[in-house]
Every structure is written in C-alpha cells, then in structure tokens.
Symmetry: C2
Amino acid sequence: MPKTVKNFNVGPSELFHGVADFLIDGLKNDDFIIPHRGPAFSEMYKNTEKAFYDFFEIPDDYSLFFTYSATEGMDILIEGVVDDSITHISNGDFGDLFSDLSKTLQKDVNLIKNIRGSRVEVDEMIVPTDVLALTANDTSTGVEYTSEDFKEIRNKFSEQLILVDATSSFGALYYDISSADAWLFSVQKNLGLPSGLGLLLVNDKIIQKAGKRQENGVNIGGHHNILSLNSFYSNYQTPSTPNIMLIQALAFVIGAYKAHFGDIYGLEKYTLEKAEYFYSMIEKIDTVSVLNTGKGKSKTTFVLDVPDGDVYDYIFSLLQGEGYSVSPGYGKFKEKNIRVANFPIHSRNDIEELFKVFHHQ
Amino acid sequence: MPKTVKNFNVGPSELFHGVADFLIDGLKNDDFIIPHRGPAFSEMYKNTEKAFYDFFEIPDDYSLFFTYSATEGMDILIEGVVDDSITHISNGDFGDLFSDLSKTLQKDVNLIKNIRGSRVEVDEMIVPTDVLALTANDTSTGVEYTSEDFKEIRNKFSEQLILVDATSSFGALYYDISSADAWLFSVQKNLGLPSGLGLLLVNDKIIQKAGKRQENGVNIGGHHNILSLNSFYSNYQTPSTPNIMLIQALAFVIGAYKAHFGDIYGLEKYTLEKAEYFYSMIEKIDTVSVLNTGKGKSKTTFVLDVPDGDVYDYIFSLLQGEGYSVSPGYGKFKEKNIRVANFPIHSRNDIEELFKVFHHQ
C-alpha cells in the first residue's frame, strides 16, 4: 500500500500542522510527565482553558471539564441531569447512539427520528420532557444543525436543558455556546489531535440540576460525575489522572488555528468555502450522489451514496492507489456510502486533488 | 530549576527506555491515525493483548478491556457486579477512594480499615458480602499485599468476587491473576507510559454476574459497562474511540521489558532487590523513617515519615537542587511524608545516587 498522501477519514483525523512536532518536542523534553496534583498541571489546565475560551468565544459561565471521550460525555450528562425521561432528536447512527445510552441508563426516551439522510426540522420537534439531546452533525448521514438552527431551538425550548453532541463539527465552525446548556465533543476530529481526550462544556444550570438530584439521593454516576468534575475543576484539577499530553497539545493546536485562520470566523469561512466547493464538484460525478439532498447538508463530513457495490470497490481502490484515504459508510451502510472529512487540516487544494482522482475513473 | 536527572515521582512515571522514541517514530510515520472500527485497529488490540498475556502470564479465561483510567475501572466494576453491598479493605487513601466510589454509586459499604501505615491482615478480614475489593499497593501509605497474600485471600474467600486495584504495583511484580476475579490498573506507573489509558482484566464470573444483573433490569452503567466492553472486545474493538497511541505503546513497552528483564520473574527480582536495598539504606538516615514498619512494606512506592516541617523542606530543596524529583505525601499528609517510586525505569544505580544526596545533608 502506498504511503497515504492525504487522510480524509472522518475520524480519527490526520493531525493538524505542527501537532506531531509539538508532541515530539514534548516527548524529547519530558514535558508530559508532570504530577496531576501539582501546580504545573493546574497552570496548564488554566492556560488550555483560556486559549480555548478566547478562540471559540466560550462564555465565562461555562465550565470546561476534561473527559476521556465524547461518548463518556453523553454518559456523564444523562446520569447527571436526566430525571426519568429525555427527548432525543436523531438524524442518524450517532443520534441513535446518544439515545441508546439514555435507554441503557434506564431513562424513558422520547425519540424523534428522521428518514435516513433527511433532517428533523425545528417545527417537527415536540419536547414533552425537561431535557432535550441533539447531535450537531451526524457523521453517519452527513446531516447537521447550524449555529442559527441552535438559536432557533434555544428560543423554542427555553425551559428545557439542551445537550448537544458536537463531536464531528466542533473545531471547524462557530457555535453560539449559549444556545445550549451542555456541549460535548472530542479532539480527534476537527481539533486535529490524536484520540484519547474528550471535552465537556456545561453551564451553571447543568451543575445546579446535578446538585439538586444528588441532594435528593439520586445516583448521578461515579468518579466522573458532574459534581466531582466540577469540584476538582475549581482547583483546575481532574478526578483521575487525565491525558496530560493531549491537554497540553490542545492549547498548542488552538495557537496553530489562531496563526492559520486568525479567529473562529476565519476558520468557519475556510470550512464553508471548502464545503461549497466539494458539493458543487460532486454534482459532476455521475456514479455517486450526496445522501442528504435537503436542509442541513454537513459542512464537515460529506456522506455520499454509492448505488453499486462494484463501483464502490472501484472508487475505494482507485483512491487508495493514489494515496487517498476516505471512510466507508457507517454500520450497515458500510458498503453503500463513502464518507469524506472536511476538517481544518484539509485544504481547498487537497479537495481539488481528490476530485482529480474521482475524475480519472 | 535544573533539568531533572531522575524522576522518582510515584505517578505519572518517567517513561521507560525507548518509549519516547517509539512515540516519536509513530508520530513521524502517522502510525497512530488509524480508524478504530477498521481491521488494523483490531489487529493491534489483539497483538497488544498477546504480548501482555505472554509476559504477565494472564490466564486465557480473562478478558482485557481498555478503559480510560484505573479509577474508571473501579466505577465499571462496582456498577457491573455489586448488587447492594460490598466489603472494602483499605490501607490508605486509595483504598478509601475505591470505597468512596462504592458509596457514591449508592452501595452499602462494609469498610475494614487499618491504622495508618499498618496493614489489615488476612485474619482480620471478615466479609459478609458477595464482593470484596482490595488495593494491592496503597501509594499513600506504602502498604501492599503480595501475590502470596492474594492466594491466601482467594482461599479464604472462595465464594466471593474479588476485585483488585493494582494501579501502583502491576507491571513490576508477578501476580497470580487467578487469585482475583478482576484486576484494574493504569499505564502511567509501573508500565512506564504517559497517562491516559487504563486496563481492566476480568474473568467470566464477572461477565456472567453483570449479564445476570442486566437481565434482572439493573442499571450496570453506560457506554463502558462490562457487557458493552465485552461485546466490542469479541471483535477486538472498543465502545468509543480509545487512546490508540497508548495501546500501541503498551505492546512496545512489554517488548522492552522482555528485552531488559527476560520475563516477569526477572522483572520481579529486579524490583525486589532494589526495594531491599532501599529499605536497608533508609535505616541509616536519621531524619526520616519508613511509615509502615509492619508487614506488607511496599516494593514499588516507598513512603517515608518526616517528623519536622523544616527538615521536610530542606530534603525537598536538596533533592531538587541535585535534579531529583520525588513526591510529597498524599492529601493531608502532603508535608509530612516523602514518597519515592521504585518502578522498572529506576535502576539500582539511580537509587544509589539518590542516597548520595540524602547523605550530603
């Protein structure tokens, strides 16, 4: 197999420019071997948070907890704030996964689900529960809600706690964080880092709800529950030894984004222009089509329908032969879809080169 | 501050020989950017497991799950197998932490606790519950149970499920794994890797108990419960994106241990000889004494009592001035104890050099 020229997998992502060198230098200098109960760790947590809050314009009344993965963030939120029932909006397998976790944790689930590849629109959302969970970008179907959509959702459901899984889009697009009460994601997609670190942003309402539930004698989860995370966070610490390497690397990558894109609006513009180009080019390819032809076409993960198994195999081997790596479909759509990432590491030129291979077929 | 000559912190540990270079090479070659649902990941999981099982002589009827931290392993086990009540044996803060997690998860806890620095002996263990939890080595007090102790415990409590937190000793000593039903630990201590990966070894009894509880409608935890971990494990996968870098690095470090120490018995001999030397030398230092003077003096983390605050500050600055890093006491004993690690990265010569500094005082 030739060396991969460009990795368009939807996750884990190729590392952002400079990340590998940052990690290499840190390993050479023993930078990652610091005690997680010492002042150097707290300083690092604080610095990473500051860089993160400045670049992504996070309001001060949100707390940043380090989790282990996005999925763990879902567990923590469900255990922390869902009393008996929760409404889940699902536009694909990742919306389903969030909803399935609520069922596993024995909550009553009110599930509003799309027809595959289309989107549940805001006027179709009926939320009889006090918690609402959504997926910002479903990587299995390429269906997304934009920051504007979330504002509309926030206005419509002003009384509910809103939990957003933003795993596949946070880090490439601007979100008005105040549109939801909790945001969870991980670093190995649009944040261009290796896998092994999740992030969880929560506002005071989330912490208060968890506190009230614990006061009422409810089990809100083990060592990584909202209150234990919050209690250690007040000293910029974590309940257990975290991924120290990636917390440092997160501050680095935000610095790199600032240098490359200026600010979050520059980064979002970059993402949107590439997405527009991709969707305009894919129209010219006869053998594949975009799965979602309606509203909310994903800007960060493009999901293509491939009607014929032979064509599917042919495209994959063609791309592989030229050193391009893309993702198969998710789950049972493995050999029916092709998924292509549009993360900050991918340039307009990378996408142009990818289309040259498509056109060779 | 001068560059650290030797890091004797009790965790995270200094990296083992070659680990930094392995990670650097992997970063240069993009080795860590593989999809966690693809065959390359499963192959890697399988290879890491094989290396691990061979070196540490793990019986085949144990399953190896990758967790995020040792503490998470505690949560998973408590949620998975504890019905209403559990007996915890505690010889220090880490035994207390395990026990506190059971309380947080709303179990009735039967706690058998030592007097600080001594050990709960096997004949003092009265276990009226069907689950027993122990800490193999309590890093806060330097009190341990040996593999022989665990055999005795297994014989005495043949009907109970036995859960062992082996965080601070696994990787330096031989344990007869069949002496307990579950072992949990992490990689940033005696396994000489960066922080960010936990390991959980469970036998079929653990899986069956969790299965029975779930069948009975009990909540056994979210995305990382025993049954979901086991279900993905059957395909050498993980429920969420794991720390791919450290799973690869774990296989590397086991290869390095094999090359350095031959087998687990060679490694254990190395550990025991260094511990014996340390304890014989520390007797000659007037200003400090070993906290635990009874049975079960830890072989991997030495905990020293320092009666005087000025002496404490003096020793720390002396060591720091010479480039040696050691750990303060744990929690409220921060400025009363000095803790020194004896991990596989530490050589007899390193300890000799450390004592030269002690003797300079």
